[in-house]
């Protein structure tokens, strides 16, 4: 009996230590990302993503394997650049070749002849239709999970693409759609164009705009469809980190999320997910304060000047989010929209880009 008790206490203590460590990892990661945003540290999207995933994984992310996988993929892409023939002949054709190679690495089955003369088929990454938003397991959003299993979602696939682009020394811009991330590129001939990794096609903007799932104001206000620069992408990682923190510590004092969203918004003020996270976090803090002081939400709360102001501030944040054109998109609707790309491929495919390949 005594022994079990000691064991339980020991277990409890060790878990406590573990969670302390994890919190430290989270704080360190936030520090590191903030450093990149401030410009004191060199921006590396790969490093940022690894920090985010490592913190959630109690610091057990296999960085060597991660780096090696990235290295293999980028050298595969580099080989493809050499052997690829492209119809595109503008001044920036080398850049476009690299984009095309990256696209192949993520989407095409590539036959490779190994040094010992054996044929080998490189199998590309696939879209994982299960748990697309990481509700069951937050790890499903991770690039490391994508590398391990070969299956990813609209978060990990474009992230991997951006990491590989960084390795190849070409720019790739992440772009947002409701609950979705895709890639934007620019070339001399066609200007901006989209690369959609979940279904492996180049859709025209009308796919997002005319589908009816996005409010026009949301496009006007750059909530979506804006080519995001490197700092904005790091700001996205900051919010990923905060969301992971909330998943890791479901009952926390909201300090971390609030701090993270403030940092992200400083560098990407119209980042919709950061604005939502900040509003939700403020709401949680408010609710807890109400619980502590009043027990339940009654008219009494409104009479308190401090609480009234807090409430109005939160209300104002939600109103601003609504006015900017944000609408929540349920999972079913999202999947319909995503598959519309494959079903109505002809309608939304950017033939100009497809024809370059």
């Amino acid at each position: 009996m005594k022994q079990t008790l000691i064991l339980i206490i020991a277990l409890f203590l060790s878990m406590n230590v573990l969670s302390q460590d994890r919190k430290q990892l989270y704080n360190d990661a936030l520090e590191e990302l903030h450093c990149m945003l401030k410009g004191s540290c060199k921006i590396s999207f790969k490093k940022a993503v690894m920090q985010v995933e490592n913190a959630y994984l109690y610091g057990t992310l296999d960085t060597i394997a991660f780096n090696q996988d990235i290295k293999i993929l980028s050298s595969l892409a580099k080989t493809l650049v050499k052997s690829k023939f492209l119809k595109y002949k503008e001044r920036d054709s080398i850049k476009i070749k690299k984009y095309a190679a990256l696209f192949s690495v993520l989407n095409d089955t590539i036959p490779i002849i190994l040094s010992d003369g054996e044929d080998y088929n490189y199998v590309p990454y696939r879209y994982d239709f299960e748990d697309i938003w990481g509700v069951k397991s937050w790890k499903n959003m991770f690039v490391s999970k994508l590398l391990e299993t070969g299956k990813g979602n609209c978060h990990s696939l474009p992230y991997l693409y951006k990491i590989l682009a960084e390795e190849l020394g070409v720019d790739a811009y992440l772009a947002l759609a409701p609950n979705h991330v895709y890639i934007k590129h620019q070339n001399i001939k066609d200007g901006w164009y989209n690369t959609e990794l979940t279904s492996g096609i180049f859709p025209i903007d009308a796919w997002l705009m005319a589908s009816g799932y996005i409010h026009l104001d949301a496009i006007r206000n750059k909530l979506y469809m804006e080519a995001l620069d490197d700092k904005q992408s790091i700001a996205m990682c900051v919010i990923d980190l905060a969301e992971g923190y909330n998943r890791a510590f479901p009952a926390n004092n909201e300090e971390f999320a609030l701090k993270a969203s403030e940092i992200a918004l400083e560098y990407y003020p119209h980042y919709i997910n950061a604005r939502i996270l900040r509003a939700e976090t403020k709401k949680k803090i408010f609710e807890r304060n109400v619980d502590d002081k009043f027990g339940e939400f009654t008219k009494e709360v409104y009479k308190d000047e401090l609480f009234k102001n807090m409430f109005l501030e939160i209300q104002n944040e939600y109103a601003m989010i609504h006015h900017s054109g944000y609408r929540r998109m349920p999972e079913e609707m999202y999947l319909n929209w995503l598959t519309s790309l494959k079903e109505e491929r002809k309608k939304y495919e950017n033939k100009k880009i497809t024809n370059h390949n």
């Binding site: 705009m209 026009l216 006007r220 979506y224 804006e226």
Partner: protein, 442 residues
């Protein structure tokens, strides 16, 4: 000889070795900078001290002065050269080579100058649309049109619309009712039985709908005389009539196209009037064309209702296109577009004309200077003003790309216009009629 070279090489090698010290931790480090600095300082001191023992003080001063004068002379020479280059550039800028030959002496061109002055003088925020449209079209017809006649037509049509509204029992202050009547005027046969008046719907003219062969095809005058118009004349005529019956409407652009937007009485809901295929459309219809990029919406070049001053800028752009159609590009085109872009820096048609003007000018100037593809690299260096011109042209292309512009081919345009689902639209009109509390005629 070989020995000497060897010694020289050996000597330099020794120098190199001397500079690189190996620190105790085994890391190669070069000598620290402050020791070099000190050495340099000593050198200077010894140089100054040494001659003082041999030369007279005044002589030394003279030498210093002479040296200073020489330096100054060299500097002046430099400045003079730089000035000469600047002067050359300035002269080049004013030389006729860098100006497109003016077309103003050509027959009828002066009417455009007068029209431009007239438009410029109109107030940005409260000009009369009818007057502006008339000014643009009248310049094309060399001032031979009769404004009073035009105004009479507009007034009579206005009376007709007002009577129809009374007959239908519409609220004469409702913006929705006014627009609905206007919409019917364009798309239906309207009758006022008590006065035995009848108006047939205005049709869309599929022939040369962008006015490429005949510019007057896009004019309101052509619409009035034939009853057939296109995506330029129909919305403009709608604007003119709206002004007459005091309805609140906005001209709006989409790729190669314009249409009408208006709001309901509470200013909550926007309606789109598509006059070419006579329907009320949604924004999604415009987006479905596939030629609107997100950047174009973010920059506000399409789908945004034009403000009054933007509309004025657009009238100036219209004037410029008429001028270009008749006389081609010259500096007057640039003057007009400059004015238009000052008022509306995001006018996409304005930017496109500016770009065409730049392209034309670069071609013209290069031709005059004898710059060809083959001698480009050598020749262009001699003409700084030509380089500037080329830079301007490229920058303008970038500006247009940044605005999210994308060219829409004619076939795609036509296909898009005819793609609208007319059935769904009838439903919408019925709902509108219900909203206006009037019985629906079956």
């Amino acid at each position: 000889m070989n020995k000497i070279t060897f010694l020289l090489i050996f000597g330099t090698l020794q120098c190199l070795v001397a500079q690189v010290k190996i620190s105790p931790d085994g890391i190669l480090r070069t000598s620290q900078t402050h020791t070099f600095q000190r050495m340099g300082y000593q050198n200077v001191l010894s140089n100054v001290n040494y001659p003082s023992q041999n030369y007279d003080v005044t002589q030394r001063q003279n030498e210093v002065i002479i040296a200073e004068v020489r330096i100054r002379q060299k500097q002046e020479e430099k400045y003079r050269k730089r000035l000469q280059i600047l002067l050359d550039e300035a002269v080049n800028e004013f030389s006729p080579i860098y100006y497109l030959p003016s077309n103003i002496s050509k027959q009828g061109a002066s009417y455009y100058q007068k029209a431009f002055q007239n438009l410029k003088q109109m107030s940005n925020n409260s000009f009369s649309v009818r007057e502006a449209v008339f000014t643009v079209e009248n310049a094309f017809y060399e001032n031979e049109e009769d404004y009073l006649e035009f105004e009479k037509v507009v007034k009579q049509t206005g009376d007709f619309l007002r009577q129809k509204m009374t007959e239908l029992g519409y609220d004469s202050n409702s913006n929705l009712a006014k627009n609905f009547t206007l919409f019917q005027f364009f798309t239906d046969t309207l009758e006022i039985k008590s006065k035995n008046l009848k108006h047939l719907p205005l049709e869309y003219d599929f022939e040369d709908f962008w006015g490429r062969d005949d510019h007057s095809k896009i004019f309101v005058k052509k619409l009035l005389s034939t009853g057939k118009g296109q995506c330029h004349s129909l919305p403009l005529f709608y604007m003119i009539l709206a002004e007459e019956i005091d309805a609140d409407v906005y001209l709006t652009f989409s790729p190669n196209h314009s249409y009408i937007k208006f709001q309901d009485n509470h200013k909550k809901k926007w309606y789109n009037v598509e006059l070419t295929n006579q329907t009320l459309t949604t924004d999604a219809f415009v987006l479905q064309s596939g030629y609107v990029k997100a950047e174009a919406i973010q920059q506000g070049i399409y789908i945004n209702p034009l403000t009054k001053s933007q509309l004025k800028a657009n009238m100036i752009v219209d004037l410029a296109s008429g001028y270009i159609y008749k006389y081609g590009y010259d500096e007057f085109v640039s003057e007009m577009i400059h004015e238009a872009l000052q008022i509306d820096p995001k006018s996409i048609t304005g930017h496109l004309i500016k770009s065409n003007y730049n392209n034309y000018k670069v071609k013209y100037v290069f031709n005059k200077l004898g710059i060809t593809k083959n001698n480009f690299e050598n020749e262009i260096k001699k003409h700084p003003a030509a380089i500037e011109l080329l830079k301007k042209m490229i920058n303008q292309h970038k500006t247009i790309a940044a605005l999210g512009y994308q060219e829409m081919p004619e076939e795609a345009y036509q296909k898009w216009l005819t793609s609208i689902d007319k059935q769904g639209n009838k439903q919408q009109q019925k709902q509108l009629k219900l909203k206006l509390n009037t019985p629906i005629k079956q």
